[in-house]
């Protein structure tokens, strides 16, 4: 079995953390029996932490040979050790250089994958660039920022495999991007800085799903939240939800804490950084490289986690219950690609509606939440189209 990890002796702590997460992952537990991945090789490229480890174990339990890689900055060595002790191949260590991370990804691809579950589309793009697609049936992509380049590739006719847009499943983005990233990025920034949010001014650049969540949790803890936007509907929406909306450069001098939540490079520029007052803190929620422009950060200004997604790079990542939804979608996407991928065009596809809805219904069931059923009269009303 492939294994290149930092310290196998850390497995006990990793197993503890994986087991704690499993307690709050009822959806993943419920679908494991529905998957059939017997004899398939599945590559997982996800932030390597206790929740994603449970996805790896679920796919293993469904019969797959699972190979996990993860960049150094997102690798928990104890979880890597725990997975190896459970029979999962892991190529990930927190002390790897960028060259070694790349070598891990190439080694995984050369093993001959049936399906790849990617995060940020890094390995899908690498497989295209290095001509290592081999017999890859398709890939599932987890993030907004990973899908963007894949859609560009599809438009140019360069995408050679079908990709399932896990991010665009409603049971993912309505919760993971809003509540998962929102809560965890705000809490990670507070853990790292000791900032008291009550009475502080928090500027949120971007009012997409992630920005909405960050704004909501910062306000919940007593911050005055200012939203900045480039898109008129998002700006109006923020205004109607009670946030001040101003241009970023105008808001910077007031800010105690700035979150970039756009997923677009060069959101927080050097000019913005210079407009901040001493003591101000900048963090990236979600994130792409260069979202905060690197280099000459003014004295007194702090960029958390070196401008990487603050909740992945500096804390334990998104909350467990939220990742239960996202990873259940991932597992169903992997299974769908195994069953149907060979008939799918090389393009970015949405997850079939019924699989998405199944995740939401399983979560409601686990929570003990009941739904109403439309009555015959209501169905008749709807059928009339009036």
């Amino acid at each position: 079995m492939l294994a290149d990890i930092r310290d196998a002796s850390l497995r006990t702590r990793g197993l503890e953390r994986i087991a704690w997460a499993r307690r709050s992952m009822p959806v993943l537990n419920a679908i494991v029996g529905e998957l059939d991945l017997t004899g398939r090789t599945v590559g997982l490229v996800l932030v390597l932490e206790p929740k994603t480890a449970n996805l790896a174990l679920t796919l293993r339990d469904a019969g797959a040979d699972v190979i996990v890689t993860c960049p150094a900055s997102e690798t928990a060595d104890d979880v890597a050790a725990a997975l190896v002790s459970e029979g999962v191949a892991v190529l990930a260590r927190s002390d790897a250089s960028p060259e070694r991370d790349r070598a891990f990804a190439l080694r995984m691809l050369r093993e001959g994958l049936d399906v790849l579950a990617d995060d940020g589309s890094r390995v899908v793009r690498l497989a295209h660039a290095e001509n290592l697609l081999g017999g890859l049936i398709g890939a599932a992509e987890e993030t907004t920022s990973g899908l963007r380049p894949l859609r560009v590739m599809a438009d140019r006719g360069e995408l050679r495999i079908p990709v399932l847009a896990v991010n665009d499943a409603r049971s993912k983005y309505l919760f993971d991007n809003v509540h998962g990233t929102g809560q965890s990025c705000v809490m990670a920034a507070l853990d790292l800085t000791g900032l008291q949010l009550a009475g502080a001014v928090c500027v949120v650049a971007g009012y997409g799903y992630v920005g909405q969540g960050v704004a909501r949790y910062a306000r919940a803890l007593g911050a005055r939240v200012v939203v900045t936007e480039v898109e008129p509907f998002a700006a109006l929406r923020a205004h109607h939800e009670g946030y001040e909306v101003r241009p970023l450069l105008d808001a910077c001098p007031d800010a105690d804490l700035v979150f970039s939540a756009t997923g677009v490079a060069h959101t927080v520029t050097r000019e913005h950084l210079r407009a901040l007052r001493p003591g101000a803190v900048v963090a990236v929620a979600g994130g792409v490289p260069d979202e905060v422009e690197a280099g000459d950060v003014p004295a007194g200004v702090t960029v958390l986690a070196e401008g990487e997604c603050v909740n992945c790079a500096a804390a334990e990542g998104n909350p467990i219950e939220i990742m239960d939804l996202s990873l259940a979608v991932q597992a169903l996407a992997v299974d769908h690609l195994v069953r149907r991928g060979s008939t799918m065009a090389p393009a970015v596809h949405l997850l079939p509606e019924e699989l998405d809805e199944r995740v939401a219904r399983l979560k409601l069931r686990a929570l003990g939440i009941g739904l109403d059923t439309p009555s015959a009269r209501q169905r008749e009303f709807l059928g009339r189209g009036l």
């Binding site: 702590r13 503890e16 809560q183 853990d191 909350p319 467990i320 939220i322 929570l367």
Partner: protein, 181 residues
């Protein structure tokens, strides 16, 4: 800034850091007078359960303390008197630690047995009044950090950093957070 807001934020940070759980949608019983904490939790999307009737005017659900504890996913200000009432999987936060600079407070020692800083029970009901006898040997007192403490005579089992599990009976396990972590 009032002390209540500092305590509230610090407590929420600690709970979420230790558990990696989501606050939105959690049923949280807040025992004792913690209005700022209850307000913050509610704003984060928790369904807050309070015994004070006036709390209904601030969007909290008002229940008798025993009912709140029996329904809660998280119990803040939990005491041993609440043990017989808890759901399987409930998470207990013994008391909200004092706020302020880290060195100013008097956080309990890691691994110190639960309840030794004398947090009074809201009801004054002694543990075991509900007929649940302390199970097993009463333990050896303060175990070293990492092996869990002792809760009402029950031996604790380390779950992960800062979380100790206690088995109250068949299929019923609760978790105590070490808020000094």
């Amino acid at each position: 800034m009032s002390d209540g807001h500092r305590r509230a934020q610090a407590a929420i940070q600690t709970i979420l850091r230790l558990t990696n759980l989501l606050m939105a949608g959690k049923r949280v019983a807040v025992i004792g007078d913690e209005p700022e904490l209850a307000a913050r939790l509610r704003a984060m999307g928790a369904q807050t359960l309070l015994a004070d009737p006036a709390a209904a005017l601030r969007g909290h659900r008002v229940l008798a303390e025993d009912e709140a504890v029996a329904l809660a996913d998280l119990v803040i200000g939990a005491t041993e008197a609440h043990l017989p009432l808890l759901r399987d999987g409930a998470i207990l936060i013994p008391a909200v630690p004092p706020a302020g600079p880290p060195e100013a407070g008097e956080p309990p020692e890691a691994g110190e047995p639960y309840g030794t800083d004398g947090e009074p029970s809201g009801t004054g009901e002694p543990y075991g009044a509900d007929g649940e006898p302390p199970a097993g040997p009463s333990g050896t007192g303060g175990e070293p950090s990492g092996t869990g403490g002792v809760l009402a005579g029950l031996p604790g089992v380390r779950v992960r950093d800062g979380i100790t599990g206690y088995r109250l009976g068949p299929g019923r396990e609760v978790f105590v957070l070490d808020m000094s972590c």
